[in-house]
Amino acid sequence: MMILLLMPIILIILFGYAITTEVKQVQIAIYDQSRTPLTERIIERLEANEYFSLYKMVNSEVEVQDLFRKGKVKLVVVFPAQYKGLSDEYVQIQTDATDPNEAQQLAGYATSIIRSELQSSQVQIKEISSPVVVPVVHLLYNPLMKGAYNFVPGVMGLILLLICALMTSVGIVKEKETGTMEILLVSPMKPIFIVIAKMVPYLLLSFINVITILLLSRFLLQVPINGSVTLLIAISVLYSLVSLSLGLLISTVTNTQQAAMLISAVVLMLPVVLLSGMVFPIGNMPDVLQWLSNIVPAKWYIAAVRDVMIKGLGVEAVALDITVLAVMVIFLTTVSVKRFKVRME
């Protein structure tokens, strides 16, 4: 059980620090066929930049291909022979587009570094007289573009589901397997109390985890909590209840621990990771999956947490999410209590 307390901490640290797509210190190679002061200045600029780190100067196109195939560099800048920076000459940027996003980002950075050096060297023939549009960019909510802002709500959704649904379902099914459930059921205690007693420890555990995650993200990752903490915890408790009732439902339809785990993993964990918007933007998915994502409780929870925690919105903004979650609790509990009774007859 130590793992259950450790897991959120590890996940928060991993997501907070390690899981980012920000570009930095990417290995590049340069194939300079002219070796003039101009190309050397550009190379210097590329090297000095935090985005890139020079792996090697290469001397042939064959060598470039070899580096790409070995996966040593992601980008190669090729200067043509006798390059003077004139407008009819081209610096070539070759990328390894295996990872398309990274490739596009890298090409963009390299292009702008080269352009600005060309401009400041004033070698570019001044024929650009067309008017200039200057974009002023405001980055809202997450100006440093930290991955953590995106992932913290997702990790909360995942952990709560793992503890409440997976552990509850496996716990109850285990009692079925070993036969202790029968002893409890023949006792004069009402079945509903037996179930509640099984759930409370997990509810407490998830409560501790929510607090841990919030503290870690606030003080370690410096993710601000812009909205009301009370609201945040209230939503988390509601979501825990959804997860618990899901776990209960699974325990009523399965008889072995393996089956319970398989169902929890395939029916619960996978959709949370994939379809909740935790990692992958829902907007990118095909319509079927977007539509499917609506029945994933975590989607609503994560959206609500993002709104409250990061955007600092109030209860009216998350009213829809709360309603959907509440309906889910009522529906799932009703169904599983019914099934639970049927099983005993």
Partner: protein, 354 residues
């Protein structure tokens, strides 16, 4: 002796209601769903436009942005405040505001500014979105002194990038979980004791467990590659032999990993949690979802001790770049080392007596 143990394991696997399903259904579903869901391709960014200027020029710019294919025009708003509230409601991701007199200033001063406000809660969408928008706007004036050539995946297909990685992910999960549950299950049922009082050597017993999972892994790999080919038209540029060679060693690693966990756990619940714990760390720090070069120093060091990292790299390189033995042999040596370590651990942890 091994022959009889293998016979037993295979029969048990075939009669199990759980494993055959796991082998066939899970990979197909995952391969069909994951690449669509695990999509960082930044397209269809929802754009809200606030045009105070309303000239032909601003309209032309807006059209140009929409026709770039990256943006969806959600709506035009009359004030920045309204547009901002559409971001809060998650209706739009980016606001583009043309100020009053934008066009006139552009003509008279030769310079004019627009405001771009993006929702960066999701850093990738926000960051890429605003840089696309900026570059479309500034293309207006900068003549191209730079030409970009993209190799290996020139159409920027995110699926081509994800599918080989997902196949690795699948192999890891199935080999890891199924083997992690195996010995501990025999412990829970009690059959392991009957084996432990026989003179069967530990190594033979573990080998009897390992070979069936190894076979399952190969079947899984083949199914996955066929699905990848049929559904995504993705076929390795490099040699199939290399993929199977690496997969052979890789499967040994994760079966050994699972068997180690199985040997030290006393209940299935415990085994599954432990396996989940390690696999999630391995998966997140493998470069499968986010580039390793973006990770902090300590995490990059950690990835050196992560077998998933090497096989993800190898699969992507063989699938997309057609890298060959000469490029990949260092990874092979490293994977062999992992196989030795994990299986040595399994041998060490599995005790015939308590």
């Amino acid at each position: 002796m091994l022959k009889y143990l293998l016979e037993k394991e295979f029969k048990q696997i075939i009669r199990d209601s759980f494993i055959p399903k796991l082998i066939f259904i899970v990979p197909i579903v995952q391969l069909l769903v994951l690449p669509f869901a695990a999509n960082f391709e930044v397209k269809n960014i929802n754009l809200a436009v606030v045009d105070h200027d309303r000239t032909q020029h601003t309209r032309r710019l807006t059209e140009k942005i929409i026709s770039s294919g990256y943006f969806n025009l959600t709506s035009e708003y009359s004030s920045y405040r309204e547009a901002l509230s559409s971001i809060e409601a998650n209706v739009s991701d980016i606001v583009l505001e043309f100020p009053l007199n934008f066009t006139r200033r552009l003509m008279t001063d030769g310079k004019s500014s627009v405001l771009i406000a993006t929702n960066t809660v999701n850093g990738t969408v926000g960051g890429l979105g605003s840089s696309y928008l900026s570059s479309i706007l500034s293309e207006e004036n900068i003549n191209t002194a730079v030409r970009v050539v993209n190799y290996f995946n020139p159409h920027f297909s995110y699926k081509n990038y994800m599918v080989p990685g997902i196949i690795v992910f699948l192999l890891t999960i199935v080999a890891g979980f199924v083997s992690a549950l195996n010995i501990v299950r025999e412990k829970e049922i009690g059959t392991i004791e009957q084996i432990n009082v026989t003179p069967v050597p530990k190594g033979i017993f573990l080998l009897g467990k390992l070979i069936p999972f190894w076979t399952i892994g190969f079947i899984l790999l083949t199914i996955s590659m066929v699905v990848a080919w049929l559904v995504y038209g993705l076929f390795p540029v490099g040699s199939l032999g290399i993929i199977y060679l690496f997969a052979g060693v890789y499967l040994v690693i994760f079966t050994g990993f699972g068997l180690t966990i199985s040997a030290v756990s006393s209940t299935q619940q415990q085994a599954i949690l432990t396996a989940f714990f390690f696999l999630i760390i391995f998966a997140l720090l493998s470069g499968l979802f986010t580039p390793i070069s973006s990770m902090p120093e300590w995490a990059q060091k950690f990835t050196l001790f992560n077998p998933v990292r090497y096989f993800v790299e190898v699969m992507r390189m063989v699938y997309l770049k057609g890298s060959g033995w000469a490029d990949l042999w260092p990874s092979f040596v490293i994977l062999l080392l992992f196989a030795a370590v994990f299986n040595g651990l399994a041998l060490l942890c599995y005790k015939k007596s308590s």
